[in-house]
Symmetry: C4
Subunit: 223 residues, 4 copies
């Protein structure tokens, strides 16, 4: 019988292909991780392995301090940031990091993506916020993600001058948030090139987001 | 022998791949439906199923109130809008909804795409108009589509802050309209980035559209 | 033994896939034709057939008045324009028409693409010029192409508010010109978005173009 | 046993597919070369052969004056520039040339890409500099590359009005630099369209680049 960790290895490995399919990554940049349900462990992409060569076996199993528990490669150089999120946000089951083009273009200006599309009200329920500038090497990036997203409706944060981190109840939800984040970052950017997108009233944003999280969510849960 | 409904299930399922091919959709957003000829029924995409997993069997059969007649999944969350169009526009045999990037960028500003390309005069015969801001959950979206497109040459409407709906004599024609809508929304956007596209005289628009609908249309009918 | 016309049917059919590969066309828009060497005949795409379904057999053989000599479908609705070019430019062996995005964006403003890249000096030897606004239905489009390109170094013309026509010594050269036209139209557009591209001195343009047509050309001929 | 030159032929041939995958080239533009370890020889793409038809056998072996030592085709028309780099930068084991869109857009304005993304501080450690305008036909292009990149952290140079050259310790590293160059040229361009990207402090750039070249580099060397 396939163990929960092996299932997760396969899921996390496969989800990396969605980053490629939606052009969110180049070369070996970008990474997906998923928490092992009920354990203080998560599975993450190895460092520097091409997307074509990712397999369940190459995924790295880490503890919540980001130490390797099992795996033949070094884990992603962003492992400490993922680990910090899992340690501090127990409700999070998946984390994704990309340098997707349009989201990074907003991040490079340190500017949030305003909520001006109904699909964005559904998925993000608010603007996509900007997190602090933080250097790699300690907990700064992880702390910036958690401080920005805790209590925020958005599952995505634009880390200043850097890139995107997204969270979700599982790895698939975090990947969906990364895909949608780039999609709305692109559409709102293009809209703004020729003028100002119309605001959506806060009440309408609230109502769309509530419906999406509840009515639509229950419908999906029922499937 | 294959029934008309089974043929339509296959056609509608296959047409979703055109949305993917032309980059009109991400994740599970977007949907195509087709009216069952001579019956008060239509076939539509299920909700939340990935494009890779769509098959004729997964398509949902609905009545013109949007109630499921046959199908194992919930129908697309946009089913009520499709149903409203079929109830109120008997000449329509296909409806498509997307959040395609450039069309949504115009929709987010609430701005119509001006008719400044001969291909646009052919296919749309006018600007691509903007429909009202409308929340999901009742007939508001359907009503907005019908009120905007009834009597308009354009088979596409940009719903404000939301996305595109297109109509056609059948599902394939509605998909073609969605593809062409994004194509001209993109080209006119890019043209406008560096100046003003030249207007086309109303007489020339009329003449191009008339020829396309008749001469070219009859030629196609004859094939 | 394969006849020259059958070889040309295959070549013209295959070259349409390059239009798809380089995203120069959507749906059934765009067409390639090639002159039958030594005969007053050319082979062109059928009207309204999807790119996936094009085969050598579906190509249409026409005379230089654009009348169908052999073929089961109607020829491309742009056949009259191709025929006019073959009648009036005996040195031309291939013609291509597209609505490629960036080239059309320049065409919609009626603005030539300035020669500001060495690759453009190589391939086009000058700006890519704008042809007149012309309605489909008589010789206006063909005449506009010929009057613009006769005596011009550029093998591509941007027909005002319409799209691109390119010519070449054979169909492959015309397809290459269509691919390069969109490539430089895109690069120069993007460069202009943030300022003015630097001019290249006329002497340098002349020298690059001369070398490309001669030294590089002979080298290629020698292969 | 496979000889080092045969291994290099295969590697250089395969790496051209990365240029296609990342949309850095159209038609037959662009080329990759790799130095034969320990010999005054390098392997480079043949001139004018489509990317689909490149095989190890079609690669051309040249000496450091750019003369063909072995090969059935003429070598890339940029061979003299590659040769000049290998003659004058003994630490370089790979060279890549492309006309990738966004990098060329900066090159056409003669404007360096500012270092405003952490990924750019990692990979380039500085702005991506502009090299001189230089005509093909003598050592001008090679000299411009070497004079710009010698002593510069960036492995990429934007040759004015022309395109990109990148260098690396081997062909793969040069290809990675070409991929990353286009990626950051695109992201910074898009960011600049709606305002000014935030600067990154020089100390932070230095620290990121040092870490990437050392900590991350050693980690990779250890794999």
């Amino acid at each position: 019988m396939t163990s929960p960790i092996d299932l997760l290895r396969r899921q996390v490995s496969d989800l990396h292909q969605e980053l490629v399919r939606y052009d969110l990554v180049v070369w070996t940049a970008g990474n997906v991780s998923g928490r092992v349900p009920g354990e203080d462990l998560f599975v993450i992409k190895p460092s520097g392995v091409p997307y074509d060569e990712l397999t369940p076996d190459t995924m790295i199993l880490c503890d919540l301090d980001g130490k390797v528990v099992e795996g033949d490669h070094a884990p992603s150089s962003d492992t400490a940031a993922h680990a910090y999120v899992y340690r501090n946000m127990p409700e999070v089951g998946g984390v994704v990091h990309t340098h997707s083009t349009y989201a990074c273009a907003w991040a490079a200006r340190g500017e949030a993506v305003p909520c001006v599309l109904t699909a964005m009200a559904d998925e993000f329920g608010a603007e996509i916020p900007v997190g602090p500038f933080a250097l790699i090497g300690d907990d700064s990036i992880g702390r910036g993600i958690v401080e920005t997203l805790r209590g925020h409706r958005s599952p995505a944060v634009l880390m200043k001058s850097h890139g995107v981190f997204t969270i979700g109840r599982d790895a698939k939800a975090a990947v969906k948030a990364a895909v949608m984040c780039e999609d709305v970052a692109r559409t709102v950017h293009i809209s703004r090139q020729l003028g100002q997108p119309l605001p959506i009233a806060q009440d309408d944003i609230d109502s769309l987001n509530h419906r999406y999280r509840n009515v639509y969510g229950q419908q999906r849960a029922a499937r």
